[in-house]
Amino acid sequence: MEAVLFFVLAAGALAGALGVVLGRNPVHCALFLLVTMAAVAVFFLMQDADLVAIIQLVVYASAIVVLFLFVITLLGVDEHERLDEPHPFQRYAAIVLGAVLLVQVLVVIGNDWATGARSTVGPLDEDGRSGNVETLARALFTDYIWAFEVTAVLLVIAVVGGVVLARRSGRRLPAEGERP
């Protein structure tokens, strides 16, 4: 049962990934990305990582890909993509870096010195009824509170930076009842 599910979903995830790379239309690519995200979410569910699965759906499927699509449909970049590259070495750098990433993944799969274990299956907390959420929350707000808060500050800085970069010339906000 689990093996059948795994192969069906793996085929779906890979097909989605190939569609993202090979698709001609950016909107179709974004939809293929959605297929991959959904398949990965079910993978997490099969590993009893319910919280990670749902975060995969909330953050990636329903926020990030929506923003991709929003930008694509709003800016209308679906006409012609520029295929000439500004940096000639970009293509070779991408190939080298991709190969490095592949080797890294293969090494991590084969060994357990990087992650501590080959694999972990099952909910984090066996006795608690909603073990994953509670265990994760306890870890975040006790042992890793410093890293957690620093990340929060980093995100706020990113938002403020985005606003600062986006502001342009001054303008008056239309008064009540006035046409802008």
């Binding site: 909107v27 569910l45 749902i54 699509l69 449909t73 709003l74 009824r129 502001r167 001054g170 906000l173």
Partner: protein, 404 residues
Amino acid sequence: MTGVPVVALDPLFDGGEITWSVFGVVAIKVVVAFAFLLVAVMLYIWGMRKVIADMQNRIGPNRAGPFGVLQTLADGIKLFFKEQSIPSSADRPVFRLAPYLSIMPAFLMFCVVPVGGRVSILGHETYLQVVDLPVGALFVLAMSGLGVYGIMLAGWASGSKYPLLGSVRATAQLLSYEAAFGLAVLGVLIQAGTLSTRGIVDEQAWDGWASFATEWYWAAAFVPFVIFLIAATAETNHPPFDLVEAEQELVGGFNTEYTGIRFAIFFLAEFMNVITMSAIATTLFLGGPSGPGLGFLAADNVVNVWLMPVFWFLVKVLALLYCTIWVRASLPRMRYDRLMALGWKYLIEVAVLWVLVSAALVVAREEGWNVWVVTPIVAAAALGAFGVLYLCMPRPGEHVEEFR
């Protein structure tokens, strides 16, 4: 499978292995939930037309079936047999896909709603809901986020101007209110201390009339309740937030180019969303299926176990749906900038402040601090913070930097 503890907290899966009868129970629940939603949409559209007709001194549908109750069915059959056209400029695969992307989240969201109590089907103890996820409340947020795709892709794939304008407007509205919606749900989660919808309902169990005011979250989390109702109305594109299909401005909005059964599916998804949102509001704030049983029967009588929880659930959902229709009949459509201002300037701020206030109160309760001292201090701090934020907002007519 690895014991399937993640799929549900339902006692149905306590045995650990999935037999055919367990599978049968799950299949029955899925089919019944889907059929229930379809029939509910049919009756809701009929009821809505009748109630609005009453409010406007008209008769409303009265031809098909007794009191016109089959009118929706007749409309559905008519749409089913109509010719389906696809514009030549359309993106055909996405155009075909969009209606189904729109209806899927509406149904999936209903799956985590507890409809009744703990019952026995085919010799298995189980909850009367399709699935009880340990992260049910987050699942609701995920599905309401995925609901954007149908509208957005329908508008884009139509390949013409008005649908695109309608869908961009709709997407901006849905994304804006998603934040207020999530924060309103968070207001309940802090009080309940669990993400499971069944757990939230159990926290609001019926314990005499006092529990109606003290245990149910409509009172304990009144501010999130109001924000949730407003945000849910905006999420479902219901009046007065139906800018998505503002006929006077956009022809018909994102579904202008759709005909026949595909149009019917969008219609179905929209009303299914309204019913699902009412069911979610019932679960989060009105105690779901909890309510008084029939006192003259034993507590384990089949009527008290099976019927009364479902009855109370339906009564609460119907009350919320009636309010939706009432609002629909009485309020005119909001202007777009006011809609955005309401969401970003007020709802999100108030929801964030409420989350902080209720977190402080929960901590105070657990630590045993004096609630009568903590509450005024926290409320004053929240009001002060809101005042500062309010003063920072640009007034109409004031000189501000432009964002683009």
